[in-house]
Symmetry: C2
Subunit: 326 residues, 2 copies
């Protein structure tokens, strides 16, 4: 029997070959009835798309990968929504992967994105120095990093001015009379954590205050780490007169630790948080919050990525948005 | 020139054909140095996997799709973690898609899962009656629904006893002296919303209280909808003496509305929430919370799905876990 072609399927289903192609290649939606006719014809004839057609389908994928480090963090989920809206407008779909800050998981998802021949990948790397995107680079799949920088490859990036925003928050705490500001830092491998700690130090220097090592405790950007770090700081004698928590989930943990120590804010201790937590803490008046344009970061990252997908060439671009005090 | 085969690539790279296959098919991790040698040989020889090999690769995919309706809801993100841990243990990866309760987006992601030939799909359907998984069924890709039921297909499901848990919460409110219990319901298309409303009615009946239509306001399972619905209920005269909010995000909105009306809980009004919101509201003593085993739901859904993936046949199974009052 001769090779079954797409034309045979089209003839059997009474549709054009283009329609068959659209049905098989998940193109723009096809009327349910037509789709069923096409799929019935495919089954009846035992049609199997040729290697070439499959290759085209794979190349033409309209799938973007978004590899983030913590799906339970609202910072990322808001970014996801921005990314999805921009992708959707351009006819692309977004599949997410959650690495849990785990380099092995991250590499597995990078392999999946490469194997599935995704059109492009947005990545919030688990490590600036150990995350490798070489698998994607080899296949010409463009990458944009978001939130965090990557030092192992020169790629486009969308992030915020972490150093400046952290410095501003310290200066505001000093304005409020604080002199002994405890800082809950993030993981050493993550560039946002490095930048925010640098901002804290710059802020102290600008205010003429000494940097004291015991006032800085490192957390893991998660709730439990924030709770433990806050407890460490609250045990210090004399106690800090302010806590500056460098991400949102650690702030939830720190709020729990404060309750456990019977401390209220702002009455007993002044609080500043990197990230806008009004929705959860319900206490915006009571603390300094650094708000990041998360939705916008997702949107801009996808727009930049799609320019690469369409083949535009330009030097690696770094888009730096403003995080602001609220 | 003869067709380049996997053996040619293996010879050039000085590795076994199995290693080449593992590198190309994102199998278990291969040492970086070996991988680079293989990829260099692939490039130098211009090797392209044959249709048959590609087909096998696609069939052998170890990718599971997890299609959820709201990525900003911690209920789902905790479930995702349970699903990922179970998948990871079995050597599978999980890609997530967020439908935003939008049927068109949901269908697009179902198309992607079908086109990418994913091994299986876990779905929290946007609509019990309008979500269609026929594209997956046609290709023999198994589906497990989680949290919500689907009426358009008979598939495995993992969920909780929504009716009973909601009824128990109403009876606890009645025990606390409440007689005029306002209920913030969810979207009509979603089975959990239907079940929780039924539980509310059963609870009233069991307590000998009349069902009053004006005490039920529908929200959208999102923060803003909860805020608007709570405001509607708080404007009633006489005001309800309790609010029972049927999901977590709406409870955040309701808490904002209470603040806007200058009402404190539990002093001015009694609160019950479907979902454990201690982490955000920090007020477990002050309200009745219904805690769902979200991580466990994700884990069990993946385990059930992987039994189907491995070819096991059994009648559609419904796993119903207990949501409990805390």
């Amino acid at each position: 029997m001769a090779q079954i072609t797409i034309k045979d399927v089209a003839g059997r289903a009474g549709v054009s070959p283009a329609t068959v192609s659209r049905v098989l290649n998940h193109g723009p939606t096809v009327a349910e009835e037509l789709r069923e006719r096409v799929l019935a014809a495919v089954r009846e004839l035992g049609y199997r798309p040729s290697s070439q057609a499959r290759f085209l389908r794979t190349r033409a994928t309209t799938l973007l990968g978004l590899i983030i480090s913590d799906i339970t963090n609202p910072f990322f989920t808001s970014m996801v929504r921005g990314a999805e809206d921009a992708a959707s407008k351009a006819g692309y779909s977004v599949m997410l992967a959650n690495t849990d800050e785990d380099l092995e998981k991250e590499q597995r998802y990078i392999e999946v994105a490469a194997a599935e021949n995704m059109a492009g990948v947005i990545l919030s790397p688990a490590s600036a120095t150990r995350t490798s995107i070489s698998l994607l680079a080899e296949r010409g799949i463009p990458v944009v990093t978001v939130d965090r920088r990557l030092q192992t490859a020169k790629v486009d990036r969308v992030g915020v001015n972490n150093v400046k925003a952290a410095q501003d928050a310290v200066l505001r705490l000093v304005d409020q009379g604080c002199r002994r500001i405890g800082f809950i830092a993030g993981p050493t491998e993550v560039t946002t954590a490095v930048d925010r700690l640098a901002g804290y130090r710059h802020g102290l220097r600008a205010a003429g205050l000494a940097y004291r090592r015991e006032l800085v405790v490192r957390g893991d950007y998660r709730i439990e780490g924030g709770r433990a770090a806050a407890a460490d700081l609250l045990r210090l004698k004399p106690r800090p007169d302010a806590l500056f928590v460098s991400n949102n989930l650690m702030a939830l943990g720190a709020a729990t630790a404060l309750r456990e120590y019977g401390l209220r804010y702002p009455e007993d201790i002044t609080l500043a948080v990197f990230d806008d937590m009004r929705w959860a803490l319900g206490l915006s008046d009571a603390m300094t919050l650094i708000s990041q344009p998360t939705y916008e970061m997702g949107r801009l990252a996808v727009e930049l990525l799609l320019r690469r997908v369409s083949g535009e060439g330009f030097p690696p671009r770094h888009v730096v948005l403003s995080a602001v005090l609220v």
